[in-house]
């Protein structure tokens, strides 16, 4: 019974973690984290402005479907 409960708990926490990761990717938080890693910067207004400048040009070229 305990094993079963643990398995369900593990599954649920994995599902939540995956959902959060999906949302972080869709909402570009993951892209920002990658940018910070790549540029060696800490999160700040300046870093976010630099990220947007780089990211928005590429994003503007991506079509969104109908």
């Amino acid at each position: 019974m305990n094993r079963m409960r643990k398995m369900i708990g593990d599954l649920a926490s994995t599902a939540v973690a995956v959902l959060i990761e999906i949302l972080r990717e869709i909402f570009d938080e993951a892209a920002y984290a990658r940018f910070l890693r790549r540029s060696g910067m800490a999160s700040s207004s300046e870093a976010y402005a630099a990220f947007r400048q780089e990211f928005d040009e590429a994003k503007a070229r991506r079509p969104k479907c109908c």
Binding site: I26, F27, Y32, E54, R61, K64, C66
Partner: protein
Amino acid sequence: MNKTLAILGWGTVALLGAVAVGTVAMQRGEPINALWLVAAATCCYALGYRFYSKFIAAKILALDGLRATPAERLENGRDFVVTNKWVLFGHHFAAIAGPGPLVGPVLAAQFGYLPGTMWVLAGAVFAGCVQDFVILLFSVRRDGKSLTAMAKDEIGPVGGFVAYVAVTAILIILLGVCALIVVNALKSSPWGTFTIAMTMPIALLMGVYLRRIRPGKVLEVSALGFVLVLAAIWGGQYVSQNPALARLFTFSAPTLAILIMVYGFAASALPVWLLLAPRDYLSTFVKLGTIALLGVGIVALHPTLHMPALTRFVDGTGPVFAGKIFPFAFITIACGAISGFHALISSGTTPKLIARETQTRMVGYGAMMCESAVAVMAIIAACVLQPGIYFAINSPAGVVGQSPAAAAATISGWGFPVTAADMQALAHAVGELTLYNRTGGAPAFAVGMAHIFSHSLGGETLMALWYHFALMFEALFILTVLDAGTRVARFMVQDALGHVYKPLGRTSWYPSILATSALIVAAWGYFLWQGVKDPLGGINSLWPLFGISNQLLATVALCVATTIIIKMHRAKYAVVTLVPLAWLVAVTFTASWHKIFDSNPRVGFLAQARVLAASPVPISSATVQLIFNNRLDAAVTGALVVMVTLVLVESLRQWMGILNGAKEARVKESPFVRTRLVEEQG
């Protein structure tokens, strides 16, 4: 033992699917529960994914888990990034799910719930999912190349050129239609207009929060923005009840059209990222939340569909749009069944992020299945309405009459009873002055969604709030498609013009930005203006045009896919893409023929122009413009068909040459490089 259990399990799914599809298809005379559609869809998707996509993956594409993808080989932390398959699935779905699967099925519901449901299920499993899957894999094997680049490499320069023109044309027509849907949803609606207007200061606030207060915390600020939007919806009722404020937010269709064109130009030409990026996030947040909520709502409340399986309008006399069930049901619903536009996403960002070839099946085939499920939800939302109400909302005044009494009498005369009092009560319940002639699909979807939710959450008292929530949700994310699409089209035109005069290709040169933005907005604005001024509501002409161009783009994508499959020496399996290709050719070419040459002026552009020109009274300048518009629409349709015919001919020459042995079957893939990532289950 396991095998026996699997056979039993899948046998049960097949049996349940057969019963559900049979019930949906055979039920006549009695209202049907929405759960039958849900069951049919779930079983079809499960079987399609488990068996058909697996067959394609194993026998045709031979997915190779050991082959490094461009995300691994070319990883740069920006465009090429190895991404978790579930994360990428969500990303891909968010990119392909637009207003199309919500609007098309609502419009096609005029034929009844059956044609749309069957086309969405069969179209997705055998055509749309297949297209997205194979194009994604072929792009992965070519360093993430775009559809136009693959068409040029595999079919020839004609293929590349036509794909480019088709993409530009579809973008422009799509943007015009999207803008028209927003105009029709917001015209004379102070509540709806106020809510959408409020998203601008909310987005600016989000932008400041993101830049200054909590840099990069997009999810957090989107949730905050969502709460503020809900407050704006709540506040909208007070605006609509206050005569002075209501006047301020009440616009006619032409005024709204001009405002939207100004918005599109500003979004493309001016540095307004502080507004657009947060609005984009807010729109995505609302979109994903609402789709999830609608799915849960339909399953939990399992409403009854009041629309019959088939209506009398299968004969082509429909008021929402004219044209027989074949081919018009199949071009009206594109995105929920097969959409050429998806091929752009499958050969855009997604192939550059995928970690394993084996994951293309889940991302490409699976995400399209989810989009198809959204289309099923839209069919349900439209068909839970009483048919009389559905037709009163979606029929233009030019068809049903100008006054409420005339419209109610016309629609009741078709066998779908509705009274002017019913419509007045419904308009009052949702906080609108009128719901007549609200063509475009968005208001009908909003009423259907409000109908579903108000039966459980808050009852009739919250009907108006649910309606305006649904309207805001659609208008907000259509506007983001509009501003993103205008920018994408601008870049495409700048890229092309750069070959003629170099400075025009520079995306930072302001004269070029202003000129190309104006060009794109003028192009889609022309279609929008045409729709606004059309006595038949605009949707009647423009949605089929959009459907035809979208499906023609899918034809190009399937030509590319078939060519590659034949070059891979898998010709005996080419039916997998050839059958949907043949179907699309039949549908789009027949539809194009009708739209150009049909003698019924409600269907054929040229017939409509002839009727207008033959008017016994002196022709006004507005009529001259209508005549020109119809001839222009006919010319656009004809030009698209001619170009796609060229691609078909070029493709056929390639296939015949390869199969005869006259041409070398050489695929232009990137060389095999063994992956260094730890092997995981795809």
